[in-house]
Amino acid sequence: MTTQPVTDDDPEQDDTGRKKNRYHFDRHTPDYREKFTEVTEEMLDKCPVAWSDTYGGHWVAAGHSEVFELARSAEYLSNDHDPQNERRGYKGISIPSPEVGFRGGFLEMDPPEQRHYRQLLNPYLSPAAVARWTPLVDEVVRASLNERIETGQIDFVDDLANIVPAVLTLAMLGIPLKNWDIYVEPIHASVYTSPNSPDQARIAASRLAMRDDMMAQLAEIRANPRPGLIDALARAEINGTVPPDFELLGIIALLMGGGFDTTTALTARSLEWLSEHPARREQLSAQRDTLLDSATEEFLRYFTPAPGDGRTISADCVIAGQEFKEGERIWLSWAMSNRDPEVFPNPNEVELDRTGNRHHSFGLGIHRCIGSNVARMVFKRMVIAVLDRMPDYTCDPAGAEHYQTIGIIQGMKHLPATFTPGPRIGDGLEETIARMQVLVDEERLAAPVTDRKGAAREK
């Protein structure tokens, strides 16, 4: 990765003016992770919107105001992924685009289709809908910590942050909770394993098992309806037509991909930071009533679990002072725009009580992360439980393993820690998951908030 803006003349004369800000940007290299602060400061300072020659050439937006304007210009920026070339052949939100193309749910659609799906699923994911799940989340968190509490050792990724978001996501979808381990490994490992790793065969096999279960669940819920996001999809009519199964599977995969590894990443990175800053950790625990919300937003800003999204320019336009041509690709960097000193004083510091924190970690505009309310709730419940039951935990830097690259998710593979052992409270994970399944079924917890209000209560 070059850390100097490239100033060579463009061979296409027409474009020299338009593409005068150039930067060799490759977010999929380990170098980008290591030099993230440096690269970000340079782009924000010199070229908040730049042309990069990587991956067939694409724009990169790093500045906060530029990303803000671009992300909210749905009339000129398309999310569409059209692998069969039925419309304009656009490539969706991944740069580079995957070789085997399928649409990644409504995040790779434009309105009005995208809006139909959002309206269908919002009543399962709104703040009021998500609040109903808090008691279940607390139980799964408690039980996960029980499994390690007497030993004085935990891996916050494997033993907590991988488990809770996965169990909750399955519950909301309407999939049996005990199936969580079919889904965790392929989703987690697919994000951090490089395409040429010897581990790919094993991960591919686990991905197939996941896909089989997903298809079986869709068929089962269609035959014997039970409430949840999948039920909504199974009954969906979009623009008067019933969507084909592969489209629905793309949406289920999107909800899982969004629900699992992102919150895992946020939790691991935040717990690691809190271990490195014990005074701040004590302060957060003592002042949680006033500090937990702002601290959560600050961790979201600073760690930006999903670092950005790609788009395709859908009509010639000028946005944020930059001229774009139809068909060009652009990367909107939530992660870099979250470090813009114009909006965030001391952008490279974590300030738990930061105000005016207009971060972009859930995206902006019509594609705002549909699971943002889930992410915040699960993150807060996990962190508070750790602060209560393992207040003196220390992460082991030698065992902490970050993803090698931060192109897709800024996450961690492992985060081992030690702490003063404590007593178990109540039952373990397996028994708790079985009990929670009964609760989900009896209370019809996964029904939309329009049908069922109020938090979960065990009889």
Partner: protein
């Protein structure tokens, strides 16, 4: 002081109601925000200003 949430700009980030839950109500179905009708109580004016400053979509404004 009165405040307003522009329904065309609000995307349901919910930051405003985290900062000032008595000034902003979130829709049960999609979490989009609506501001209270009347005057913002004097003791909550700084919270209202903080909500305006913190909205990721810049959807909140003071009604003159």
């Amino acid at each position: 002081m009165k405040v307003r949430v522009d329904p065309d700009r609000c995307q349901g980030h919910t930051i405003c109601s985290m900062i000032a839950p008595t000034l902003f109500t979130l829709d049960d179905e999609d979490g989009h925000s609506t501001a209270i009708d009347g005057e913002v109580p004097a003791e909550l004016e700084s919270k209202a200003a903080e909500a305006i400053r913190s909205c990721p979509e810049q959807a909140i404004s003071v009604i003159p």
